[in-house]
Amino acid sequence: MIRNCLAAALLGSAVLLAGCNAAPEAEAPAATETAASSIAVTDPWSRATAEGQNAGGAFMTIANTGTAADRLTGGSTPVAGRVEIHTMTMEGDVMKMRQLEDGLEVPAGGTVTLKPGSFHVMLMDLKQPLKAGDRVPLTLTFAGAGALETQLEVRPAGAMPAMDHGTHGKDKPHG
């Protein structure tokens, strides 16, 4: 009886602890990479915007395979007047968005994911609406790696990233 209880407790613990571990990220295909740099950008995307809506966020995963940290400091795109790097935080029930004046660090050998609810590239003063299905050129500027050309895939306004295993079972909406 006691042995059974113990086995159940240990097994239960193992299952619960296993459930807390984030599943490994699937291998992402087709990264944009500069010829001589260790920075790679995967899955750059943005959301469709309405006529007269002059700002939008862009999201992506940035990997740094080099031995030195790098920083994403800004960028440019023909569809917007300004490109800024922002972070979003929640304080209680209030959303706060701030520009990262010093850019966003991408650690050596690490990755940073820009996603809804977190870091994002802000496209300010949009010159035209972003339409779902369009591909928008975006040049990202890194302190070390320099300029990196990529193309944003414009998804519907309600698009959300693929299921993030790091949310510990939170069922996030999908666009």
Binding site: L6, L16, A48, G52, D93, M95, G169, K170
Partner: protein, 218 residues
């Protein structure tokens, strides 16, 4: 499955009492592990739903008179909304993240309600009337593939509505003389009489949000 605790095999020996204590100790450690695991799960999967008693305390504080303008120029007030439950959210069209995420989530939850999905309104109030005209807001809410009533008004009208809901917004200067806006990211669920029924927090799980909407239209 192999017995994971062979040392606990019962043997009738003189050391049986000591064995019993050892078993008890191991069992207690198992319980400690289980409790710690449950604690870890609770830490990593927080449910931010306020307890029912808190909600009852908020209910009389949140909501109240407001008068705003719809994209077609018509006036919408707390009185004109009466008769149908509604989910109301404050934001602005230049919001890159929380607003599109929340509006698309509400659209997706509405679809999950099936035939009950049209039993409540989704209302989006822009707290940026200096930038968002009623027409701009109409075009913005049309992006989300579900009927959303977009509203705004004069600065005073917007402030009055925000105050009625005990919500918060604040313009924050950015580079080049521009600004962004910090704002409450919760969705207020109001019943057909205009009284607060519950609140969906920004990081609330979908099952919990769906349960609240079911109660709203039930």
């Amino acid at each position: 499955m192999a017995d994971p605790f062979p040392e606990l095999e019962e043997d009738v020996s003189p050391q049986r009492q000591a064995e019993g204590l050892k078993t008890l100790r191991l069992a207690l450690w198992g319980v400690v592990l289980l409790v710690v695991s449950i604690g870890l799960v609770a830490m990593f999967a927080p449910d931010r739903t306020p307890p029912a008693s808190d909600q009852a305390a908020y209910a009389d504080l949140i909501g109240g008179p407001f008068a705003l303008t719809a994209p077609d120029g018509s006036r919408v007030t707390d009185q004109t909304l009466k008769g149908t439950p509604f989910a109301i959210f404050f934001g602005f069209t230049r919001c890159p993240d929380v607003c599109p995420t929340t509006l698309s989530r509400m659209a997706s939850l509405r679809k999950q309600l099936g035939k009950d999905g049209d039993k409540f309104r989704i209302v989006f109030v822009s707290v940026d009337p200096g930038y968002d005209s009623p027409e701009d807001i109409g075009r913005y809410v049309a992006l989300f593939g579900t009927p959303i009533l977009g509203l705004t008004g004069t600065d005073q009208e917007v402030d009055a509505a925000v105050k009625a809901y005990r919500a918060f917004y604040q313009k924050v200067p950015t580079t080049g003389g521009d600004y962004t806006i910090d704002h409450t990211a919760s969705v207020y669920l109001m019943d057909a009489s205009g009284k607060l029924q519950s609140i969906i927090a920004y990081d609330e799980t979908n099952p919990s949000a769906l349960a609240k909407l079911k109660r709203l239209v039930g």
